[in-house]
């Protein structure tokens, strides 16, 4: 991320009438909003995670039974939870990896100028403009047993193919991941393309003049120069994909059974289908700690890398 030096101009005049520094006064609305929506819930979630509160039990949340760390103990042995974690990591790795490869391949097609280039870029980034729920909706129809995907397979295979993708425990994850990849490869593409366009052009020319072949130029010169952009893109997409919910909810709701449950879907089902709020709060806490610590671990090397 941008690490430009912050300009400082605070002086004795940087104060408002009632004595709060104007800088502090200016960040206050944003800060309070974030505290309200992040800090308060985090405190509540810590309390809830130590209880077995269920809204259906008729006890208010602040009077719920305190069960110490039993929720965490149960989670540790809850295969459904652990599977959802592993599945989410799998989905992140596969989706983000494929997105990056596709984006790189696509961007390489756009390095020179040609008449309908702008139009082509506009069409290719269309998916990322769509409301995610609608994109998932479209994939829901595409992968229906009587949808066009099965139709295409039938035509190619030469016999009727009416596979029910979304109710198969193994294959149901495919449409979900495809929807995710379809929607977000354009973003990766746009980032990588921007990176390519900002490369120092003369280094490429110099390599060319030295007689290097296009693949060598790509791998030895361009990709190393592109690395910072790729890291930013991977990071942003990984964080976003880790939260994946919309396509799972629309396409399978985590089913069949729990075959496509990601972390977000597991927690949604736990809290809003089974109403095990205390238990899910514990899971939420684990995820929060996990995410924050991963990000903090990554922040330093990335900042150094970017600088």
């Amino acid at each position: 991320m941008s690490t430009e030096a912050v300009q400082r101009h605070s002086g004795p005049d940087a104060r408002k009438g009632w004595g709060i520094p104007i800088g502090l006064a200016s960040v206050l609305p944003a800060q309070i909003t974030v505290l309200f929506v992040v800090l308060m819930p985090t405190l509540i979630v810590i309390w809830l995670s130590l209880t077995d509160w269920q809204p259906t039990a008729g006890v208010p949340w602040y009077r719920a039974e305190f069960i110490w760390l039993w929720n965490f103990y149960d989670l540790w042995y809850d295969e459904r939870f652990l599977n959802s974690v592993v599945r989410t990591v799998f989905v992140v790795a596969v989706c983000v990896g494929i997105e990056l490869l596709l984006a790189l391949a696509l961007a390489l097609l756009f390095l020179d100028e040609w008449p309908w280039r702008k139009l082509a870029v506009s069409v290719i980034i269309l998916p990322m403009m769509i409301v995610p729920v609608d994109a998932a909706n479209a994939f829901f129809m595409l992968f229906n047993e009587r949808g066009p995907i099965n139709h295409l397979i039938s035509v190619v295979a030469g016999r009727p193919y009416e596979f029910s993708w979304l109710s198969h425990p193994l294959w149901a994850l495919i449409p979900i991941m495809l929807a995710e990849i379809w929607q977000w490869t354009p973003l990766m593409f746009l980032l990588v393309l921007t990176g390519f366009m900002n490369l120092p052009e003369n280094q490429v020319r110099a390599a060319l003049a030295l007689g290097a072949s296009p693949p060598r130029i790509l791998f030895r010169i361009m990709l190393p120069l592109l690395l910072p952009v790729i890291v930013v893109a991977l990071l942003i997409r990984s964080i976003e994909t880790f939260k994946i919910f919309d396509p799972v909810y629309i396409l399978t709701r985590g089913g069949p059974g729990a075959a496509t449950e990601t972390i977000s879907m597991f927690m949604y089902n736990g809290a809003f289908v089974y109403f095990r709020i205390g238990y899910i709060a514990a899971a939420a806490l684990i995820v929060l700690v996990l995410v924050v610590s991963i990000c903090m671990a990554l922040a330093r090397p990335i900042k150094r890398f970017q600088g």
Binding site: N202, Q203, R205, A206, L208, A209, L210, A212, R220
Partner: protein, 365 residues
């Protein structure tokens, strides 16, 4: 390695402007040759055609007598150094140097040997492990040079390699570049708009304007005997004075009548009476204690202090004339007398701008 380069009647048009309009050049092996001219004169276009990034509309380019026009850039044995040096910033210096060899599938051991050999000659040994992005300008210049030299090019092309630099760095890099070139006896085609660079490093210079070459000559000759008023005005710092002159008389009593009743006697030469432009460099003028024939009276209007000398701007009639003078010899507002001092006798046709050969008869003579 070193080779002969010939350009024969090269033409290149962009849309409806002629960027290069029929230029012919021949570079001797080992020669440091500069293309000098203002931006838009076609010098970079010429270089791009030699490098193979542009195709000429007409003409012929030969290296060692063989045409290279049909070859793509990478097949021409040409080393190209860019304006920004384009050192591969993510590769180490050693990797930068080895890049061209890797491409040519030179064996690893051989690569190492060549890299170390060249690094030694260009004083790069101590920075071989550093990344291209962390180098200073002098190091980048040497890496950029070494990177192309290691591939043993027949010809080295340099495209304004110093235009992004501070004056101070530029001065030291000029010396360095010339030393390396002489050391390796490399044929160099150097493109620049900076007359100081061209003058200080070149064996010969081609001064270009509007796609055509006005003069090809050694720096000395370019300065002493410019073929065209444009060349005279482009070369020299402080710049030459151009005065309208009327030539009168004939034979031995020929004179040039200049503004402010200044009259200069001229030597013999084929010269018709009429209007000319007379070029006098600031160093060819001096302040004279006495007034009289051959001198002109004027008033000092500005003064440029260059430290070792002052450049006086002397008002002469309705013109300002630059005169180099010792510090302290005149003050602003002071009236002075000017006379020539070892004047070269540059006289240009007022219409065509071409120089008219005439022997000078300085006031001292």
């Amino acid at each position: 390695m070193t080779a002969r380069l010939e350009l024969i009647d090269i033409h290149k048009r962009f849309e409806d402007t002629a960027a290069v309009n029929g230029i012919s050049l021949a570079l001797a092996p080992g020669e440091f040759f500069s293309l000098l001219g203002p931006s838009g004169c076609g010098k970079s276009t010429t270089l791009a055609m030699v490098a193979g990034f542009l195709e000429p509309d007409g003409g012929e380019i030969r290296v060692e007598g063989r045409s290279i026009l049909h070859l793509p850039p990478q097949a021409r044995r040409i080393g190209l150094v860019f304006q920004d040096y384009a050192v591969f910033s993510k590769l180490t210096v050693a990797e930068n140097l080895a890049f061209g060899l890797e491409v040519r599938r030179v064996r690893r051991a051989e690569r190492r040997r060549l890299v170390h050999e060249l690094a030694q000659r260009l004083a790069l040994t101590s920075i071989l492990g550093r990344r291209g992005g962390s180098l200073n300008m002098s190091e980048m210049q040497r890496v950029a040079l070494a990177r192309v030299l290691i591939t043993n090019p027949e010809l080295l092309l340099l495209d304004e390699p110093m235009s992004n630099l501070d004056a101070e760095v530029r001065a030291s890099l000029r010396g360095e570049l010339k030393r390396i070139q002489q050391d390796l006896r490399q044929t160099v085609l150097y493109v620049t708009h900076d007359q100081v660079e061209a003058m200080s490093m070149s064996d010969r210079i081609a001064v270009m304007r509007e796609g055509a070459i006005l003069q090809v000559a050694s720096p000395d000759e370019i300065f002493r005997a410019p073929a065209h008023r444009f060349v005279a005005e482009f070369i020299g710092d402080p710049p030459i004075n151009m005065l309208p002159a009327t030539v009168e008389g004939d034979g031995s009593s020929r004179i040039a009548r200049l503004p402010a009743n200044w009259i200069l006697p001229l030597g013999p030469g084929e010269l018709a009476e009429g209007a000319y432009l007379l070029g006098i460099r600031p160093h060819e003028l001096m302040l004279s204690a006495a007034s009289g024939t051959g001198t002109a009276a004027g008033i000092v209007r500005f003064l440029e202090n260059l430290g070792a000398e002052h450049v006086l701007h002397v008002e002469l009639g309705d013109m300002l004339i630059r005169v180099s003078a010792r510090p302290g010899s005149a003050r602003i507002g002071e009236g002075v007398n000017l006379r020539t001092q070892s004047w070269q006798g540059l006289l240009f046709d007022a219409r065509t701008g071409n120089r008219v050969p005439v022997r000078a008869l300085g006031a001292a003579a």
